[in-house]
Symmetry: C2
Subunit: 286 residues, 2 copies
């Protein structure tokens, strides 16, 4: 019998992973009540099935793939059905939450008798013809998730407790998304003070790899800035109150909040960033 | 007659630039009272001459190359001698100070009748056989400094007011040194939560350029962390009170302060960073 892998919710990442699972023969139930028409359409296109909590709890594996602020609430919502289930699934929190948060979610799931694994997804949602992101797994039940590898997912089991996969996800995003934040902040500041062309020229000469990275990374960020606000706050929480670097990520959250508002509104910052990235393009094309 | 280019002070950057100037025939007076034996030795090796304020004010050009916190004080100290000088030099503030600070320094120099240029040095101190750093110049007197190019320095004149060179320096350092800070913060946090090997493996696979950069950039930073504290504070000031990204650089200042204390003391953070960078090295050597 084909395995049943519940995936909640059908966002870009969740539906991308669900499609890969259904293409490999898995049944993929999900929760759709209260979801937008766009979510329902994504779920249907990915071959997912609308289900209730009891049906989700009857799956072999549950993958929680939601915005970081909704991760604990989903565990709370499913806990009664998991407690009632006779055959217990493994619940995998795949979200960009910090170590304390994932431990709190593990503590919500533990009394239900279900297995629990800490997951962290690194990479973009799977699209046909690409290998897709890597799902890192940690915690005692991580070793029971090998079936996912046979269903088209790239999984890597970490030798660490619940929290290790989240720590990996936080630290990786703190570097890669953090770098995009530094670039946005400094390019905007240089532009305000008339130094944008000189900054572009100096980066082109002494940091060509970084400049090339910004050319793709900044425009890719615009539409995601609103989601990165919560992720940067999770990274601040991951660092804890005594780490001076915590402030760095609180500042990043504020920066992405401002950029998200600009994307949704005046688009002045976006225009300044695009103007910076366009420096030299006209010359090169001429 | 050979030009006279005063350089204050004979730190690593100042003495490196002074040596290049003296090798090209310039006389290079400097202020040495109150300086350490090491500074005096560096000054002598670079061919610099001990001088008083009046002799410094008699130079053709004065290059201020001091820690950011001392930049305004040096201008104040030299102002009386500049006011008294019959033939006025051009005073160039080459320091990693923010736009407001360099404008304040320009306002100290203006009443003396001397010319003023805003400078920003990007790159490491010159060593024999390398082209050396670039000295960016902005402001009305920048165009009068072409003589420096004939004396072995790489100069670039920006088409901008006083502040443009500082803005360039701030924004460039905010990206490059900021990236080193992100790496240090995230590697230390991952190490605390048992995720360092996984972070190393993921960076090696998906961000090999960044990982290679950290292998050099982190150890190079250890001895400079104490200086970067002030530079990060200048960048925070450069962003101003209304920019949410200001907090990023206040956090960076705190991080480098902690790292500087660790370098001078227990060396626990340094050991964790070195251990991270050594991952895979033993395998590669075996």
């Amino acid at each position: 019998m084909s395995p049943t892998i519940a995936v909640i919710a059908p966002g870009a990442m969740g539906s991308g992973i669900a499609r890969r699972l259904t293409e490999h023969g898995a049944a993929v139930p999900t929760l759709l009540d209260g979801r937008s028409a766009a979510s329902r359409a994504r779920a249907q296109a990915a071959g997912m099935q609308a289900a209730d909590e009891a049906a989700v709890a009857g799956a072999d594996i549950i993958l929680s793939i939601v915005p970081p602020g909704e991760a604990a609430a989903l565990a709370e919502r499913l806990a009664p059905a998991l407690r009632a289930a006779t055959r217990k699934p493994v619940y995998v929190d795949c979200n960009a939450v910090n170590v304390d948060t994932v431990k709190a979610i593990a503590a919500i799931i533990a009394p239900t008798g279900s297995g629990f694994a800490d997951g962290g997804i690194i990479g973009m949602p799977p699209v046909p013809g690409t290998p897709g992101p890597v799902l890192y797994l940690a915690g005692p039940a991580a070793k029971d998730l090998g079936v996912l590898a046979g269903l088209g997912l790239r999984i890597r089991v970490l030798d660490g407790p619940v929290g290790a996969a989240s720590a990996l996800k936080m630290s990786y995003a703190g570097i890669t998304k953090g770098l995009t934040g530094l670039a946005a902040a400094m390019i905007l500041a240089a532009s305000r003070d008339g130094a944008a062309p000189a900054l572009h020229a100096e980066l082109a000469e002494s940091q060509p790899q970084l400049l090339a990275r910004f050319g793709k990374g900044l425009p890719d960020m615009y539409a995601k800035a609103y989601r990165w606000v919560a992720e940067m706050r999770e990274i601040a929480g991951f660092l804890g109150p005594d780490d001076p670097a915590r402030l760095i990520y609180e500042g990043m959250a504020g920066l992405f909040e401002r950029l998200a508002a600009d994307v949704a509104g005046e688009k002045q910052d976006i225009a300044a960033l695009d103007a910076f990235l366009a420096i030299g393009k006209a010359d090169a094309a001429a």
